[in-house]
């Protein structure tokens, strides 16, 4: 197996995630796209871990999973709050910061 086949898979997932973040309007879908990005990072970490024969990558992959869980929890809390206040979870409606 090549190193690159895993890295390219991760790169593709990352770019799809980026597209999702930019193109999606529904906040829940934006969060899902972020999950895609985080998973691609995990694939990278584990690939390099195998390549270098160290276990550091495993540790940090676990840390990232934990951080992702926390992020989803808080993120969905925010989405709920926004929904309660605005009756909408479209990120386009959240433009109070417009200049």
């Amino acid at each position: 197996m090549f190193v690159n086949q895993f890295l390219f898979l991760a790169a593709i997932l990352f770019c799809i995630g980026v597209y999702g973040v930019v193109a999606r309007k529904n906040a829940v879908l934006v969060l899902m796209s972020i999950e895609l990005i985080l998973n691609s990072v995990n694939i990278n970490l584990l690939t390099f871990s195998l390549r270098n024969g160290s276990t550091d990558g495993h540790t940090f992959a676990l840390y990232i999973i934990a951080v992702a869980a926390a992020e989803v929890g808080v993120g969905l809390g925010l989405v709920l709050l926004v929904y309660r206040n605005k009756r909408s979870i479209s990120v386009d409606d959240l433009s109070e910061m417009s200049g």
Binding site: F2, V28, M32, N42, L50, H58, I65, V79
Partner: protein
């Protein structure tokens, strides 16, 4: 090796298709289900990468917990269960060139750096004990920090989602 290679390509193909469906489907619940496919595929890839413990954790935490959260989020925000027409915003036209440019940058860098480098055939077995030794040994400080992050997330999620 051959079998693993075949496995990789099949799973990778499924993952890419699934990921594309996550960002293109017009149904939020379908998107969540496609995300399950991608996450399960990622777990399979972790096993190919000799990271069984991380793979199990991925299944438990992501597919078990995070997906349930997503589905609850979808339900509580009364998104329609069926297809919707306006899930994409007006910046869709930006997304493709941005993602393409990023992929180009990464692709060039990866080809230049790793070319035809191969992964070792016989992967060393990483035991759970080794990982725990790492977490509670040299990386104890990030672990502590992470514990605080989780605590803050729990408290924050409750505070944000309270009705009053």
């Amino acid at each position: 090796m051959i079998a693993q290679n075949i496995g990789f390509w099949i799973i990778a193909l499924v993952m890419i298709v699934g990921a594309l469906r996550v960002v293109t489907t017009n149904n939020v619940v379908h998107a969540a289900l496609w995300l399950v496919v991608v996450l399960a595929g990622a777990a399979a890839q972790y096993i190919l990468l000799a990271a069984e413990f991380v793979a199990i954790t991925q299944v438990l935490v992501y597919i078990g917990a995070v997906m349930v959260l997503f589905l609850f989020g979808t339900m509580l925000t009364r998104a329609r269960i069926g297809a919707e027409s306006d899930l994409n915003n007006s910046y869709k036209k930006w997304g493709i060139p941005v993602a393409g440019a990023m992929f180009a940058a990464m692709g060039i860098a990866l080809v230049n750096s790793f070319g035809k480098e191969k992964l070792p055939d016989t992967a060393p077995v990483v035991t759970t004990q080794q990982i725990s030794d790492q977490i509670f040994g040299p990386y104890l400080l990030p672990f502590w920090a992470l514990s605080f992050v989780l605590l803050a997330a729990v408290v924050g999620a409750i505070v944000l989602a309270r009705k009053d």
